[in-house]
């Protein structure tokens, strides 16, 4: 079998601060096949963004990748993004791997027109003339279905709505026909009807262009609607991983189950209070011993859970769970 497009193995990213060594990402393994969408989901502070930034080696100081490998394979050639020289990595970022972030306003340059910014992204990675780059930019705006693309080419970011700016970010990310897009909370700042537009657009582009997507979100609903596979993250680790169909029809980790039950809806209205997960997500300086979820877990049992860190085990084919009692919960 061919190597996956992206294969992260045992990634450990730490921040060295006055609080000591903080392993924000602590042994994460993920893989994405060509043309697939992988959802990385969890509450804020669990390490999603640090995972994404590590993948592009953009973790800001005092953070650094301490160990692990990130194999990226295109056209039969594999490189390890952890050790690749910076010069080669710069070609990968925005070239073979595109990026989209939550707040497009901070990633777009306010003093350049959006046409210029897309053209620049194209010229950074391709030997094309200015006018070719500009017509490519226009083509990209058509592709991401921005209204009135001809006029908008000369608009500045502040003249666009949040949804339009996110389309521009997607256009920039796609300008070099990447094999992978890393999208970190791409719709979190948007209204639901605009979110629906952007998710549909991403899904449409993926199916037509074959671009794989690493979709990072805190919203399980977004994952259920767009992803092929899902990894649930908690306190720097993957706690459950499976296909979306499997994970949502048979969640096995108590944290995943808790997140799903905490979602309010009209059907839950007359059946008493919502199920809650007590307490909150611990920061790296307070990661508990044993299973990191045990202080909040309704299944936790001593002495296993508070002492022994559970490993990520394949409980049924393709369904991985990091819980001592996954089999019990399964039955």
């Amino acid at each position: 079998m061919a190597a996956p497009l992206l294969e992260i193995k045992d990634l450990v990213t730490v921040f060295h601060t006055s609080d000591g060594r903080l392993p924000a990402v602590d042994g994460v393994s993920l893989s994405i096949e060509r043309g697939q969408t992988l959802g990385l989901v969890g509450e804020s502070g669990c390490g999603k963004s640090v995972t994404a930034m590590s993948t592009l080696r953009l973790v800001s100081s005092p953070g650094r990748i301490e160990s692990g490998s990130i194999m990226f394979t295109t056209e039969g050639e594999s490189i390890d993004l952890v050790t690749t020289p910076e010069k080669q990595l710069r070609q990968v970022r925005g070239g073979r791997i595109g990026m989209i972030f939550q707040e497009p306003m901070t990633s777009l340059n306010p003093v350049f027109t959006i046409g210029n910014q897309i053209a620049e992204a194209v010229q950074l990675h391709r030997k094309v003339s200015r006018s070719e780059a500009r017509s490519r930019a226009l083509e990209m705006l058509h592709l991401v279905r921005l209204a009135d693309p001809e006029q908008r080419l000369d608009a500045y970011p502040h003249q666009l709505s949040g949804g339009m700016r996110q389309r521009v970010m997607i256009a920039i990310a796609l300008a070099c026909e990447p094999d992978l897009i890393i999208a970190d909370e791409p719709t979190t700042a948007l209204d639901v009807t605009i979110q629906a537009q952007i998710l549909e657009l991403l899904d449409d582009l993926r199916s037509r262009l074959g671009t794989a997507i690493l979709l990072i979100t805190h919203d399980l609903g977004v994952v259920a609607e767009t992803c092929d596979d899902v990894a649930v993250m908690y306190a720097g680790r993957i706690v459950e991983q499976a296909s979306a169909v499997e994970l949502f029809s048979r969640p096995l980790h108590p944290y995943t189950i808790g997140l799903l039950q905490a979602r309010p809806n009209v059907d839950a209205r007359d059946s008493g209070p919502l199920e809650t997960i007590p307490g909150m997500v611990p920061p790296p300086q307070d990661f508990p011993s044993g299973c990191r979820f045990h202080p909040r877990c309704s299944h936790a049992r001593e002495p296993q859970c508070n002492v022994e860190p559970p490993s990520l085990r394949e409980v049924s084919p393709g369904h991985f769970v990091r819980c001592h009692f996954a089999e019990e919960i399964n039955s």
């Binding site: 083509e139 339009m164 209204d191 808790g258």
Partner: protein, 372 residues
Amino acid sequence: MSEQNPQTDPPLLQVKGLETHFPIRKGLLRRQVGSVKAVDGVTFDIPRGKTLGLVGESGCGKTTVGRSLLRLVEPTGGEVLFDNHAVRKENARSLRSLRRRMQIVFQDPYGSLNPRMKIRSILEEGLILHRLGERSARLEQMEQALERTGLSPAVLERYPHEFSGGQRQRIAIARALVLKPEFLVLDEPVSALDVSIQAQVINLLKELKQELGLTYLFISHDLSVVEYLADNVAVMYLGQIVESAEAGQLCQQPLHPYTLALFSAVPSVEVKNRRQRIVLAGDVPSPSRPPAGCRFHPRCPLAETVCREVEPPQVDLAGHRFHCHVASRELERCGGDAAKTSVVMQAAITAATSDSTEPHSAVSQRMSLDHQ
């Protein structure tokens, strides 16, 4: 709390034709060149002990409605009756006593608490302003409010930055409760919180409402939270309410195309039936130049000529109210059956939007060709 008889008691809050326009000024002389019609003719009632959920996307005017009720911004038209007091006509003094009874909790648990004040001063401020009790009585009230929100009296001596988002929101709720209000405007109180923390605060709000007999205006852009908490729901678009009904009725039989689209856009975890999503085109227009006719018509998949020209009148079907030409015609065709009409509307919108994803396929084909 006294027993409430919906037949005879008037609603605690009655809002009629509420209008809040903000002037747009330009130039050296700051001449008014137009106005932002943030709230433009909003009517609703909230019976005592009930929760009205106000939903809609950002910029549609939800916060301005909430602030206008308490006159934190001055409405430019309409009527607000709180327990039969005409809020807009009250003088400064009587307004102050009304404001003790009507409190507001804001979305941002980080921005809404003064970082330089101890929790004690934050909670005590309102009690002192309203001259409620001596020092020891005030302390007792503060401790009571903290206990109700699941916090210990020890927090009084601490500062906001020492607390997590969920705890800050509890403190903000305690600050409102300390004055023993009857009515709370909750403006996106859980929107900034993670799901597990959100559920804790939602349960708290529900509990408080039951125990203290509170009446809520619950503002949110998140339909699933509103569905869960509200007795009645009103959907806002561009400064107006386009549809309102009892919560279950609105969720099961939405009639307005905007409500249908909004429901359809909420991501669900039912992965087995990835639905045909209704995807609306375009963005919400500016409230300084609302479209003529039905304000939703530029984005409405079902818009007809009449929609572009005539403002749709309100249809009231036993408390299920909406403003839509097409829905009102379909309702008539279905002999006044809301359930049937809702199905018909859903089908019509799905049909009208499902073939709209194609216009640029030529471009993408070109793109995949030069890929090879």
